[in-house]
């Protein structure tokens, strides 16, 4: 054992400071890069530790990960990537296995909203500006859901908002986030509705009343959904953070699914009410 270690140490010396010759190229590059920025604490045992990490089963959390992060200052993201897509993993298989459930769920939830719209299809397709607006509105609400979720998760992690804090609605950062997203939602919904009316005017008679209704539908849809998504993100964020989970992993799928489903459902409802 001693001899083996001695050999390794000799190799390490030959390889300069890092001693990563025996480790695959990508890892060596990660390491060299980090070392160049003087972030990583280098010891002769580091290469072997990284090699051991790569060989560990993908889902197995090993104290070695914590050791590499704490002692050698390698970021958790780097360690995660090394383990997730290392030499011993099937890259395509890993991605498919991890993504397929959430993708199917998100697509089916989005389609459920489509059921409502399918039922009033005749009325819906007759209003050309709404057909033009549909993909833009869907994208927009989904994007705002992602923004609210990711920004609120970061606030929780940074301690700017404490878990289950009483009077969280008085928090200035949260106020600012809500007002910014609401302002953007109103602005982009108005802009989208205006663009849809201009584009559809070539084939559709746009009267003042129709224009008013299209603007009203776009604005009510955007404001109502952004408000609902904001409160859902906060409630779910506090819940998952309180349970010791990372809210980033849950909030985006939850809020984007609600955004898609809610958008189609609300559109169907608003079209029925207004037309």
């Amino acid at each position: 054992m001693k001899n083996k270690n001695g050999k390794k140490e000799a190799e390490n010396k030959n390889d300069g400071k890092t001693g990563l010759k025996e480790i695959g190229n990508p890892l060596a590059r990660v390491f060299h890069e980090a070392h160049a920025h003087k972030r990583v604490v280098v010891t002769p045992r580091l290469p072997r530790k990284l090699e051991r990490l790569r060989a560990l089963p993908r889902k197995h959390f090993h104290p070695l990960q914590h050791d590499l992060h704490a002692k050698h200052k390698l970021s958790r993201k780097t360690l995660f990537y090394v383990k997730e897509y290392g030499a011993h993993s099937n890259v395509a298989g890993t991605i498919i296995k991890e993504s397929i459930k959430i993708l199917l769920l998100a697509s089916i939830v989005s389609s459920l909203g489509g059921f409502a719209l399918e039922n009033i299809k005749a009325a819906f397709v007759a209003i050309v500006p709404l057909v033009v607006l549909l993909p833009a509105l869907n994208d927009m609400i989904g994007d705002y859901a992602s923004i609210i979720s990711s920004r609120f998760s970061t606030m929780l992690h940074e301690g700017k908002v404490r878990g289950c804090e009483r009077g969280w609605w008085k928090n200035a950062e949260l106020h600012k986030l809500f007002m910014q997203v609401l302002f953007l939602a109103v602005f982009t919904a108005t802009l989208g509705a205006a663009a849809a009316l201009v584009i559809s005017s070539a084939s559709f008679a746009v009267s003042a009343l129709v224009a008013f209704k299209v603007f009203a539908i776009a604005l009510i849809d955007a404001v109502l959904l952004v408000t609902v998504l904001f409160f859902v993100a906060i409630a779910a964020g506090f819940y998952f953070f309180g349970k010791g989970e990372d809210p980033s992993n849950f909030l985006i799928p939850i809020t984007t699914s609600i955004a898609d489903f809610g958008n189609m459902l609300l559109l169907a409802l608003l079209v029925t009410v207004f037309f």
Binding site: S107, A136, D139, M179
Partner: protein
């Protein structure tokens, strides 16, 4: 409400701060793509939207393209920043694995969407309309044959030019995804 907006002690106190500007510009790009896709959809309403079950497929189909390509771009970006992916070497294990997985996921989810729409037609409208199963499947293949290589090329290009692909690829993928999805649905309809 502008400069003196009541904000956190540590953050930027301005309402129209850097975050706002980033969100605003990305939303403008996304909105432009969405409106172009919507215009194409409106132009072919009689051919596309009037098919039974099409409004069930459409939201999921548009959503899927963004979800798959955004995750693909995000994984590539992480790999590029960690130097695990070499931007000049496309035929690496990680990139090929990512390409294969993204393509498989898109085709599989498209097929499931088609089956869901077929079931809706069968049970609620009492119609047997097989085309609705193959339409998203073929459109998924066509759209991804364009979108996935485009995402790869754009991510690598942006990284090489010194930009952070994470900030740009989200709106880029959602806007180009909408356009390619609608175009692919129309091509698939013409083929079938």
């Amino acid at each position: 409400m502008t400069a003196g907006f009541n904000a956190g002690k540590t953050g930027d106190k301005r309402f129209f701060d850097r975050d706002f500007r980033e969100m605003f510009s990305s939303q403008l790009v996304s909105l432009t793509g969405g409106v172009i896709a919507g215009a194409a959809l409106a132009a072919y309403t009689d051919k596309l939207l009037l098919l039974p079950g099409m409004l069930i497929i459409l939201p999921g189909f548009l959503e899927m393209r963004g979800n798959i390509s955004s995750s693909f771009a995000s994984r590539l970006s992480s790999g590029l920043f960690l130097r695990v992916i070499n931007p000049d070497k496309i035929k690496s294990k990680i990139i090929v694995g990512n390409l294969a997985a993204s393509f498989f996921l898109a085709v599989f989810v498209s097929l499931v969407l088609g089956v869901v729409a077929f079931a809706f037609n069968y049970f609620f409208l009492q119609q047997v309309f097989w085309k609705i199963v193959f339409l998203p499947l073929l459109a998924g293949v066509i759209a991804n044959a364009i979108e996935i290589p485009l995402t790869l090329a754009a991510t690598l290009y942006l990284f090489k030019k010194g930009h952070d692909p994470n900030n740009i690829m989200g709106p880029f993928v959602s806007s180009t995804g909408d356009i390619t999805s609608i175009a692919a649905l129309l091509i698939a309809l013409a083929v079938l």
